[in-house]
Symmetry: C2
Subunit: 333 residues, 2 copies
Amino acid sequence: MATISQIAKEAGVSRTLVSRVLNNKPGVSPENRQKILEIIEKNHYVPNGLARALVLQRTMTIGVVMDDLCNDFFFDLIAGLQNAGEEHGYNILFCSGRKDIDTKMKYVDYFSQGRTDGIIAYGSNHADEELFRSIAAKSVNCVLIEGNLDDCKVDKIRLDNFHGAYVATEHLIKQGYHNIIHITNDMNYDVSLERLNGFVQAMHDYRIPLGPDSIVYGDCYEEAAYQQMKKLFAVGKKPDACFVGADKPAFGVLRAAIETGLSIPGDLAVIGFDDDTPESRDIVFPGLSTMRQPLYEMGRAGVELLLDAIEQPGREPKTQTFEAELVLRDTCR
Amino acid sequence: MATISQIAKEAGVSRTLVSRVLNNKPGVSPENRQKILEIIEKNHYVPNGLARALVLQRTMTIGVVMDDLCNDFFFDLIAGLQNAGEEHGYNILFCSGRKDIDTKMKYVDYFSQGRTDGIIAYGSNHADEELFRSIAAKSVNCVLIEGNLDDCKVDKIRLDNFHGAYVATEHLIKQGYHNIIHITNDMNYDVSLERLNGFVQAMHDYRIPLGPDSIVYGDCYEEAAYQQMKKLFAVGKKPDACFVGADKPAFGVLRAAIETGLSIPGDLAVIGFDDDTPESRDIVFPGLSTMRQPLYEMGRAGVELLLDAIEQPGREPKTQTFEAELVLRDTCR
DNA sequence: TTGTACGCGTTATCAT
DNA sequence: ATGATAACGCGTACAA
């Protein structure tokens, strides 16, 4: 790799002039500029980004740390981050954690060591708490998406999960469903509890008593919800509506119901959460009604918030909250 | 952000000693080591990675450039890259192109500017050619996965698409199917042509004539293949087997066949390519027989090959070729 | 054991 | 217009 000194030497000028040419700055005679450009071209010279970042104290880079790159749930978030970053001239770097906190932590450290101007971290798993606190302790610009550490002085992008769940449940109630159950998302995530709370509150507000089977504990995959529903149907339980804490398990509910011969939404109405349905599911299942989580917008907002923090060192942390939106398709009238 | 000089000053020693402590090197008295460690801890000091990389001429980082991070096809590849990188102590950085060559190019430049020890680029789109040539021209360690520029002096990880397609077609033939059609993958990708060629060669070797409907041009999504097959069935065409150039369109074929009332594999046998079926599809469709593309292993091999190149500057480029493996499930006997 | 001095590749300041 | 010099933060030979 050629360096600026080698180019300068070959051109018979000082590094200063080469630097000016590289950065399109005035103060170079046309002849010298021309000559320098040719030599740069000839040697395929590209300036070293590390050295430049070191002296400029700016990397124009944002590091993103998520649970797992291999999950279609994050597609919209990734797109939002990338697009917003690009608009502001920033490079967005992703890393692939593998649901283990250690890898996530490793990359947070990596990004923190001067390699980025800021970090965007996603997660709401209980295990993330330690990670997020360590980030907050460092003097690193950082935005937490989804993470809910009330006592931490960090910028945050949040979704109002409680309200979203409330809206979904309320909609079911107002449509005349009264034997409503809730299948939770993975309770290792804070959001799952918030959604459960929203469900409970709505049921309470409308004076609908919760029975022993009103709350079923699931996870963020399809299979568990499928099994739980099959079990429920097998013992003769007949809920007329089901609010599910995430879309993936909602498909498990649909599958169990369809196999059992129930008509959707006649015998059973279903509302999910997230709106992260891959195309392929819409083809074979009835369109899932759900609470849309605006991940694309949240990703964009995360970048904006981070840049805002970078530009105003020492300002108080902000929290920006998004609302989920009820999207009615086929599984609920 | 604290610096090594500040720590040294506060400890009343030279930067050398602090550096030794940071890197666990001998030559520091126990008392000094202890004192320095405490001050480091107190200040949340972390060494600057840029400065370190600059002087060490090593970033311990690999940059990965793919068409699109938002595609479940790449999940196994990502996992392979990450795991292999981690085993060797390397940080793997991903970026999100958006199927446009410009973003890809931008990140290749970014990674090339001294920020990584090497680049792994994935792609076989015709538009990638320019990109790959520009990479090859630079003096950057780089491995191309899937890209097929025969005349380029770069390390490559390849899949033998021709042979894979041949094996799939041959299997159908040997199973007694003779009215076989091929639905191509997106012909903008080199791999699609290779797979088409493998199909044609096998048909030719077994003396099975190709009719006007033997080759149907599709893309890498489900819908086009679905439409094409519906059209075919509508005009009374009755192939007894179908080799599809990718898994996603293969599901389009299955859907069209099932809707038309055909039994699988009785009336129509189907073999796909890639084996990138998401869980969710297996649940509602018969298990898709396919040629498994070992993306996880290819990702791993890409990292190994790159590190090999880094350790031996100037060595001749190598190409490592993988074979696809026939995986028989339900859609083909 | 400890510290000095130089270099990594770049930009910026300030002379000339 | 041009160039010498310092600085960014760090590692390391070398000398003490």
